[in-house]
């Protein structure tokens, strides 16, 4: 082997060694990235499960009279459970159908209350007014009040609201 050939051989060998190092280190890095990525990212992109919360008996509701009930909502935050109290209006309609309406004004998030004289929901902050179906009839709110699914337990007439 001439001096030149020897040098070329050395350069090829070095190139191969560098390639091996890069591939192996890259492989270890990729495995760790998947594990770390999964552990860091999974709670950020988890879908929150909805829950059916008991909200009292249908028999206690006057027809067409929105009744505010406070629901205890337990939100799982990893190892911690945050407890929120959310107020929803239950409205018993025709055929014992029950509507659950959010009490949060769609304008800036104040809590609306039911005005039994005017038969409307009024927001105390900026004068938003909604009718009994949640439709905006005056003021700045951009959307109607949100509603939640409900179901009624046929055995004990308990109303459940999905939050």
């Amino acid at each position: 082997m001439s001096e030149h050939e020897h040098e070329e051989h050395q350069i090829n060998r070095r190139g191969l060694l560098r390639w091996i190092i890069n591939v192996v280190v890259g492989g270890i890095g990729a495995v760790l990235a998947v594990i770390v990525g999964g552990a860091v990212g999974s709670p950020s992109f988890r879908k929150e499960r909805s829950r059916w919360l008991p909200a009292g008996r249908i028999l206690g509701l006057q027809p067409e009279q929105p009744q505010p009930v406070t629901l205890r909502v337990v939100r799982k935050e990893g190892y911690y459970e945050a407890v929120d109290h959310e107020v929803v209006f239950l409205i018993r309609g025709a055929g014992d159908k029950v509507t659950a309406m959010s009490s949060v004004c769609t304008h800036l998030g104040c809590h609306v209350s039911w005005d039994p004289q005017g038969r409307v929901f009024r927001c105390p902050c900026h004068g938003g007014v909604y009718d009994i179906t949640g439709k905006v009839i005056a003021g700045p709110p951009p959307r109607p009040l949100a509603t939640y699914s409900t179901r009624i337990d046929p055995d004990n007439h308990e109303v459940f609201v999905e939050l």
Partner: protein, 531 residues
Amino acid sequence: MASRGNGVLDWLDSRTGYRNGLKHLLDEPLPSGTGWWFTLGSVLVGLLSIQFLTGAVLMMYYVPTPAYAWDSVHYIMTGLAFGHVLRDLHFFGASFIVIAAGLHMLRVIFFGSYKKPREVTWLSGVFLLLLILAFALTGYLLPWDQRAYWATVVTTNIAKTAPVLGPYVSRLMKGGPDVGALTLSRWYAMHVILLPAGLVTFIVLHLYLMRRHGISGPVKARPGKPHPFYPDHVVKDTLLVALVFAGLLSFAVLGHAPLAAKANPADASYVPRPEWYFLSLFQLLHYFKGGLEPVATIGIPTLLVLVLLALPWLDRKHDRDPRKRPAVIGITVLILAGVALLTTIGLKESPPEPDPTIWSPAAVAGLSIAQSAACTTCHAPGGAAAVLGTERIQHDDSWIEGHMSDPQMIAPGLRPRPADALNVLQTRAVVAYVDKLRLDLTPPQLSDEQRAAEVTIGTRCMGCHEIQGEGTSSNGAPDLTHIGAKRDAAWLDKWITDPGSVDENATMPSFGGILTADQIKAVADYLATLK
């Protein structure tokens, strides 16, 4: 590699001079014959980097407080994608590091690499080993399970045996008279800030000194040109690191880092044991009792560390050949054999770890109480309290016991008082059940007879007997874990109904009038299966 590059890198190099720095780091000439034995340091750097990375992610979820530490670790294991692999990498990584550090040190001892002029490199290495052991010790407490809690009680009691300063050191370690919230947070601060800072400092020092004196190389200089560190030696480092990483990953994926029941300072029935690498020291305590105890707890470990620190000055001859250093090699081998022997005995004598996922009779009994009116009057859908199993149990075991045994505590004037408070055995059974709830375990499918037997055993027999590590064993009643190997169902039935008819000196009360014949038969049949 300096010749290639684009405009941005050229600019960066002109401002930082990084290419020269990199070249200086990578072009270190290594003596001819520097082989695989000299890759252990890189393995340690690799393993420690993995600990840093996994540790940082664990810190995103872990909270160092008795109320949540256990729950946060449980969440890491069950609630995160790859969470169990993440924790296992960190857990088994610690063992891998202790082994790699031990092998690295043995390599240095056998190759005589600590000799002049590398004495300070050796000293920094000994400090690194001590730091690694301190990491292991502080990390052990953090999951806040029974294992962690009781092992730390032992550790801090060992510190107490040191002469003169012992009691003060022990209090300083605990942050008070007992292992508790303050212990957890100060060990956490050590584990995640102070020890890493110390570790990085000493690694930098260690590597700087290694470069300053060059690698010691083979015991006898070999002919041949020195070869550059990169890529010739780095490829060996990389391949060994990859092999070790594959091993660690297998442990992490297939193994299970233990998480015992949540720490309960009131339940001293847990037999603590240290991690395997401290087992030999722990085992020494069996042979030094009473006044001699400090010999094992403080004397021998201190002596070992002092001898390690002084090694370059105890063995000052120039020759590095292990065959010409019989004293150093002989003593090293003797110490290794001693550690191996003590560890083996320690492993053999360790009581079996109770499996927290097995539904014991007490837990089954607790479940049946939890489903009875005693609990479901309030813990019901739409009831005064949440349905058991749907929400995290915030309270610790002693609160739960109080909650059930003292009606005033259950209902301070707000809720209807229950007709009967539960007795001690029933409350303990519910606590055993709550421990299963915390682990999200589903109740086992049991036949009616089996359930009746386990409920009776959990609420009656375990007042005096111990089964599978649960119950009481202090009053002379035998442990029933393997009773089926000694007695058959018929004998047990007769004995439980009326012990006096079998042995007139029997001290166990007769249960013939307390339990129904069906209950006794179910219990006897069940016990007969415990072989």
